[in-house]
């Protein structure tokens, strides 16, 4: 997989707040767009305390399951759905994206948001998936979810709430979110 040694990651640190966020970062579609949903939640540490200096990135298929390959995420024009966004947590550890619900991408079994988590104190980024709570049996057929015990599986399924979904990221401890590693990631 890797002929070369991958460059190791390092923590995003405490001072990314003036560098990585940008206007419209968490709004993949303008608020009020027909069909828009909110994906929101909290990032919590091992004592259940909010993490106010975390950054989440979201990458998703369009509502029809297509993988979008369009520029414009950093300077949104209000019309182009790029499938990618970035959200910082607030003082209560809360994040929120305004987006469209993902469809099931080619090669996937169930619709999910792919998420990357960064934070001060987190020495390397974490990957996870926030699955939509669909009831058509797709979640039961999903290979990743099927490989997990029930109590851990639930940490990857967003819950329906109001005009969207809630997905908490628990970095450690009770209800710890399942984080993913992919083939070829450097051993620690």
């Amino acid at each position: 997989m890797n002929a070369l040694v991958p460059t190791p990651g390092q923590t995003v640190g405490p001072f990314f707040g003036y560098a990585l966020p940008y206007p419209g970062d968490a709004a993949l579609v303008p608020p009020g767009t027909p069909g828009a949903i909110q994906l929101r939640g909290r990032v919590l540490d091992g004592r259940g305390q909010p993490v106010p200096d975390a950054l989440l990135e979201l990458w998703q298929a369009g509502p029809d399951g297509s993988v979008v390959q369009q520029p414009g995420s950093l300077r949104r024009d209000g019309w182009t759905f790029t499938g990618w966004g970035r959200a910082s947590t607030d003082n209560e550890g809360r994040y929120s994206f305004t987006t469209l619900p993902p469809g099931t991408a080619p090669g996937s079994t169930a619709p999910f948001f792919a998420l990357t988590v960064f934070a001060r104190g987190l020495l390397d980024r974490l990957f996870t998936r926030a699955y939509l709570p669909v009831e058509d049996g797709a979640l039961d057929r999903d290979p990743l979810l099927a490989a997990l015990p029930q109590d851990r599986r639930d940490s990857l399924i967003a819950t329906r709430a109001g005009s969207g979904y809630v997905f908490d990221v628990v970095l450690q401890g009770d209800g710890e979110t399942v984080f993913l590693t992919y083939p070829g990631q450097p051993p620690r």
Binding site: L4, Q10, D45, Q172, G173, Q185
Partner: protein, 273 residues
């Protein structure tokens, strides 16, 4: 990554809370040295581990912010086999020069840092986003939470962006950042560094890291740098001075190449995207 018995033992033996004001550098350095001995022993049986530990107690903020359960192996699928696309719409070429963002010239050693972004097989990562941020020459960030009593430079924000070119090459003009104190322990100082944020051709290649400068006397003392336990992997984060990048009567030059993981799609698939 897997959480080995050795790692969990080390965690249990470590303090679960920190009194940053009273822990000395000597105590932190002792913890670092102990973990280094553990690694040398593990390396002989398990091989090299080039990623940073997520559970690295000398970095106190990691104590409550690392997963305790093993990461779940997943085969990338669907959107994970692709990365977001960025283009000239997203990034102005002037954003690659951090020394021209204000009315005047920032204080400090002007330098160019350039290098090539490749995937694990050495294929260039073309026309992809690179973001950087850093302290100014005095070691101060333009950030409300940075209370280090060093001067803010009105001519330096310390944020840059660029797209790699058709060969995967990025290039920034900036100022050499200063080292700065932080509150991990008493008299804690970070080696001078530039934060780098990188995307590949797959979602799974996403990387945020820090680039350091050669010969920094703070390397051995710094728990963030030392969280990568393998010396050869730590060396990957250190740029090298390159006189061919240095410009006559203008600036010094550093070269730092970046290797992303993986690349799950074949080059032909990538061309079709």
């Amino acid at each position: 990554m897997t959480l080995t018995a050795g790692q969990s033992e080390r965690h249990e033996a470590a303090p679960t809370s920190s009194d940053a004001a009273s822990t000395t550098q000597a105590e932190i350095s002792t913890e670092i040295a102990r973990l280094r001995v553990d690694y040398e022993r593990e390396r002989r049986t398990d091989g090299e581990r080039t990623g940073p530990l997520l559970d690295y107690p000398p970095y106190r903020s990691s104590l409550l912010r690392h997963p305790t359960k093993a990461l779940q192996h997943a085969d990338p699928e669907g959107v994970e086999l692709f990365a977001p696309v960025f283009g000239q719409r997203d990034v102005d070429p002037l954003e690659a020069d951090l020394t021209i963002q204000h009315g005047g010239t920032p204080v400090g050693e002007r330098l160019v840092v350039t290098g090539k972004v490749v995937d694990g097989d050495g294929r260039p990562v073309r026309r992809q986003l690179v973001e950087i941020w850093q302290a100014n020459a005095a070691g101060r960030y333009i950030h409300q939470r940075d209370q280090h009593p060093a001067p803010i430079d009105p001519n330096f924000t310390g944020v840059g962006r660029c797209l790699t070119d058709a060969d995967g090459v990025y290039r920034f003009t900036t100022i050499k950042p200063g080292p700065y104190p932080w509150r991990n322990h008493r008299n804690a100082w970070r080696p001078a560094h530039i934060h780098f944020s990188l995307f590949g051709t797959d979602f799974t290649q996403r990387l945020i890291t820090q680039m350091y400068f050669p010969g920094d006397p703070l390397f051995d003392l710094d728990p963030i740098y030392q969280s990568i336990r393998d010396q050869s992997a730590r060396d990957c984060l250190v740029a090298r001075y390159d006189h061919d990048v240095t410009q006559h009567e203008w600036c010094t030059g550093y070269r730092w190449d970046i290797v992303l993981t993986g690349g799950f799609r074949t080059p032909m698939e990538q061309e079709q995207v």
